[in-house]
Structures are given as structure tokens and as C-alpha cells.
Amino acid sequence: MLKVEDLRFRYSPRGPLVLDGVDLQLQPGQIGIVLGRNGSGKSTLFKTILGIQKPLSGKVLFEGQDLHAMTRRERARIAAYVPQDIRFGDLTVFDSVLLGRISYFGMRAGADDIAAVEQILQEMDLSDFAARSVEKLSGGERQKIAIARAMAQDPRLMVFDEPTGNLDMANELLILQEAKRLAREKNIAILCSLHDLNQALQLGDRFFFMKQGRVKYACDAQDITEELIRDVYGVAVKIIQAENRKIIIGGDLNENK
């Protein structure tokens, strides 16, 4: 289980707290969606959980182990990251995925690492792309390679920072389905930020609404209400039920005034 306790972070000693006591919990195999307005601290929260940034105070425990007390390599074998801005450099797909094994091999990839990458590429239907340059792939394919690279770390926790940001509808669906498959089949805890609330409802098991550097609401889908969304986003919306699903419709900034 992922347990974040009272996490605080600021970028400069005199700057404001970007994370002001974040608490959240996520079970293995669950998908937790982190939501909130731009600047509410979602990306900062992810980078702090992953140890890319050092927190001011607070703890990040995974299955009882303090992630921040581990070495970088130990941490990379537990938690993987699919960043918002996906870049690889001009490498082949195979080598890009093999990069995810750095925390295992150090200087030279071994037979185990090669086998692990081959298996991931096969599972994700990417074998035919192995020798191609990542630079020549489409946005959706690159996103998939980024997920494959994260999978190569053999993680038990995956963090996705706005994975569908620049994708078309078909690629969005492809990535969300891939995330769901990983959570269900591999029992990986997934923490993901999304802006589209309907997409979030479609994918998530738990929802963490951030406001002013804190998780103000941690709830399941059935607890998401129009009032909650108005409080977090300052927007009036309507929630309807259709085909056994909650659907959030539109929004009016003026209604909130």
C-alpha cells in the first residue's frame, strides 16, 4: 500500500508551500486519480513522492518501507514515472525501453535485462517497433513506449503525470486501457493525474482532489458531487447518470459568483 503522510514541499526557502501537508493512501492494483486546478501541486506531489525532489517534511511509505530512506536505485525498482513531457532522444524503441533497466544493470545490460525488455515489448504489442527510432513514432506510440520503459523497472507503483495530455481520442483510450490492464493484471498501484473528469471517472478507483497544496477530498466515484467539483474548480457542473456511469456535464464560471 502507498501511504503519503503530511508531505510538505516548497521550491525555495522563502517561497510558499506548494505541498502543504498532503495525505493519501492507495492499495495495490488500485488506480488513484489526482485532480485539481492548474498549479494545485499535482506534478510537484508526484516528483516529491518519487524522490526527484526532497520534501521539507513528511513520509512516503510503500508497503511499510520509507521510499525516501532508500537509495535512488532501490527506489527506482519500486516506483516508476511516466512524465508529462515525454522525450527519449534519438534512440531505438528497444534501447529506450532498456533504459528502464538502468537501476538493475548499471553500466552494461545483461541477458536478464534483455529478456525482460523483450517480454514487455511482446506483452504490449511493440515487438515490431523494436529497431525503429522513437523520434519517428506518433504521440500515442511514444506514450506507450514511455509506459513500457516504466514497466521495465518492474515497479509496484507507477506514477502517470497527465498521460493523455496531447493525444487524440483513440490514443487516449489506448493509454487508459493500458494503465488499467497494468493495475489489474500486475497488481500495480497507479497514481495518475488527469484534467478530464469524465476520463478520470472512467479510469479511477480512488479520487484525490487537490486544493491549495493539500488533498482536500479523497473519495470513491459515488462520493463525487456537484458541490465538491464547484469547491475544487470554482465551476458549476451537472452530474447525470447514463448507462450505469456518472457523467459530468459542462460548467459555468458565472454560476459560481
Binding site: K47, R72, A80, D85, T92, F94, D95, M107, A131, V159
Partner: protein, 351 residues
């Protein structure tokens, strides 16, 4: 499933390049202003020719060719590592202001300590003592090292953020250039011309001793960068992604910047400023072979050797009796080729 075909092609290319460098080094031994024929040159190489020819081959051309190979490799690979580490296509071996600092050190040695100041007069004997090449090189290296340490210490405060490093390098470079200008303003004609001539890159200053020192530093750097190849590949994906994969980005940046700058400092201190090698070779390599550092590190090393050998041979063939500055020739030869490579691509690859 592994791209083995690609790997084999890359290995073959590296081997071919290595053979080409060896062949070029050999051929370059027989080109020069003395117009020694090939047969005479081969006899001199076997120490069977006249003492003058033997001296030309063994005391002038071999150290010079070795210097071209070593400095070309060092400057080129330093440029590559700087560009990756700082995520900046315009980064070069001198991004930390190393060359400017070395030029200031050499100017100080030549102008201030060799009687090159107006106030001390033109004392030629004092000038000759102070212009001892080792004293000048040592002074150049001391200031280059000082500049590296100062910038790296400053940049540590901002965790070696690439933009901070580049801007700090530009600022520090400007300080050294300004100090050099002031120094030159008060120099005598003799001091000034000696200082300006020093700043032209010249492989003719190389000796076996300087080659051995450069070789030790460049070799250590090449081994280090080869060991770091996967980490440098990870850095191509951005700081956050590399960090999440277990790479200590701050330490990697520090080590790479330090090693690349020390290589540059040693080469510039012994040979003067040789520009462009550190930009053109890495870019051509990346354009042709992609960005995998397992390939780009050895290819940049060999490409640098080739460019500097070619430029030096060209400079020795053009001048009548004396060689033209090799730094100018690298730019003259390299720039058109570089432009052709840039504009021949169908797409924009990342740098």
C-alpha cells in the same frame, strides 16, 4: 528482437573510422612545408635518412600528429558530453568559459611575467625566460582550472541546472575576456603579438611530454564517458525521467562537466584555442547515427581525430614555410560540411 543489425552496422562504422584515423595519421606524417618526399619520409621514420629529416619526422611531425589525434578526440567528446549534460545544442567544450580563462592565464604569463608590459620595457631576454612554453601552459591551466572550480561551486547552489550553468559560463567567460583586454591594453607590441599568437591554436607546440599528459587526461575522460553512456542516454529523456530511473542527475552533471572542462583546459593550455571541433563533430555524429552514447562517444572521439588531422595537414600544406592557425582551418573546413549536414536532413532531429 534486439536491433542486432543496427549494432553490427554501428560497430563496423566505428572500426572503419578507427582504421581511417590510423591511415590518415600515417599519411599526415609525410605532409609538410619541408617538401620531404615519401621515400625520404619513410627512411626518416626508420631512422635511415639525414639527421634533419629524422628530426623533422621524429621531433616535429610525430608529436604534432599525435597532438592532433589526442586533442581532436578530447575536444570533440567534451563537446558531445557538454551538449547532453546541459541539454543545449550550442554547448561546447568551452561553455564554462574554460578557453577564455586559459587565454587570460597565458596572456598574464606572456605580458606580465615576461616583460611584455609597457612599464617594464621591451626586455627581450626577460621575455624569452618568461615565455617558457611550460610556464605559459601552466598559467593557462591554473586559470582554466580556477574558472571551472568557481563555476561548478556557484552552480552547485542551483543543482547544476543547465540554464544556470550556461549563463554562468557566459558571464565568467566575459569576465576573463574583459581582463584579457585590459591586460593587452597595457602590453608592449612584442608582448601583445606574442599573446595574440599564443591564442591561435597551434599543434606545432606539442612535444612528446605534452602529448603524454593530454593522452592521460583524454583517455581517462573517454573511459569515464563510455562508462556513463547509459546514464547520458537516460538524461536525453529529461532530468525528472532520469531521476525516476535511479540516475543521480546532479552528480552525473557535476562529473561530466568537470571531466569535459578539464580535458578542454589541458588541450587549450598546451595548444591554444582550437574552436569548432567540439561543436561540429558531435553534431555530425548525432545527425548520422542518432544519440545513443554507446555509439556517439567513440564516433565523436574518432571524428575529432579525423577533423583535426585533416585541418592540421591542410594548414601545413597551405602556408609556405609556416603553418596557418589550425583553429581557423577547422572552422573553414568544418563549417561548410556542417551546414550541408544540417540542411540536407529531411527533419529536425533533437540536438
Amino acid at each position: 528482437m534486439q536491433p542486432t543489425k543496427k549494432r553490427k552496422k554501428e560497430s563496423a562504422f566505428i572500426a572503419l573510422l578507427a582504421v581511417l584515423v590510423l591511415a590518415m595519421s600515417f599519411v599526415c606524417l609525410f605532409v609538410g612545408s619541408s617538401h620531404m618526399g615519401l621515400a625520404d619520409g619513410l627512411r626518416a621514420l626508420a631512422k635511415q635518412s639525414s639527421p634533419a629529416n629524422i628530426r623533422i619526422i621524429w621531433n616535429i611531425r610525430i608529436p604534432r600528429v599525435l597532438a592532433a589525434v589526442i586533442a581532436g578526440a578530447g575536444l570533440s567528446v567534451s563537446g558531445l558530453v557538454m551538449q547532453t549534460t546541459l541539454n543545449n545544442a550550442m554547448a561546447s567544450p568551452s561553455t564554462l568559459g574554460v578557453s577564455n580563462a586559459a587565454v587570460f592565464g597565458a596572456n598574464l604569463s606572456i605580458i606580465a611575467f615576461a616583460g611584455g608590459f609597457l612599464s617594464t620595457g621591451n626586455n627581450l631576454s626577460s621575455y624569452m625566460v618568461g615565455a617558457n612554453p611550460f610556464a605559459t601552459s601552466l598559467m593557462a591551466f591554473v586559470f582554466a582550472a580556477l574558472s571551472i572550480l568557481l563555476i561548478l561551486a556557484l552552480c552547485r547552489v542551483r543543482a547544476f541546472s543547465p540554464n544556470v550553468v550556461v549563463l554562468a559560463g557566459i558571464a565568467m567567460g566575459s569576465v576573463w575576456t574583459a581582463a584579457t583586454t585590459i591586460l593587452q591594453f597595457y602590453a608592449t607590441d612584442v608582448g601583445l603579438s606574442a599573446a595574440v599568437i599564443w591564442s591561435f591554436g597551434d599543434l606545432g607546440r606539442a612535444t612528446y611530454r605534452t602529448d603524454a599528459i593530454m593522452l592521460a587526461v583524454v583517455l581517462a575522460g573517454a573511459v569515464l564517458f563510455s562508462c556513463m553512456a547509459w546514464r547520458l542516454n537516460a538524461l536525453l529523456g529529461g532530468q525528472a525521467a532520469a531521476g525516476a530511473m535511479g540516475v543521480n542527475v546532479e552528480l552525473l552533471r557535476f562529473v561530466c562537466l568537470l571531466a569535459a572542462s578539464v580535458i578542454t583546459a589541458v588541450c587549450v593550455s598546451f595548444l591554444g584555442v582550437i574552436g569548432f571541433v567540439g561543436i561540429i563533430c558531435p553534431h555530425v555524429t548525432k545527425k548520422l547515427l542518432g544519440q545513443d552514447h554507446r555509439v556517439t562517444v567513440p564516433v565523436s572521439l574518432l571524428g575529432g581525430c579525423r577533423l583535426l588531422l585533416l585541418a592540421d595537414t591542410f594548414s601545413r600544406s597551405l602556408g609556405s614555410g609556416s603553418a596557418l592557425p589550425v583553429g581557423a582551418i577547422t572552422s573553414l573546413l568544418g563549417a561548410p560540411f556542417f551546414l550541408a549536414i544540417i540542411f540536407s536532413g529531411k527533419e529536425n532531429r533533437p540536438c
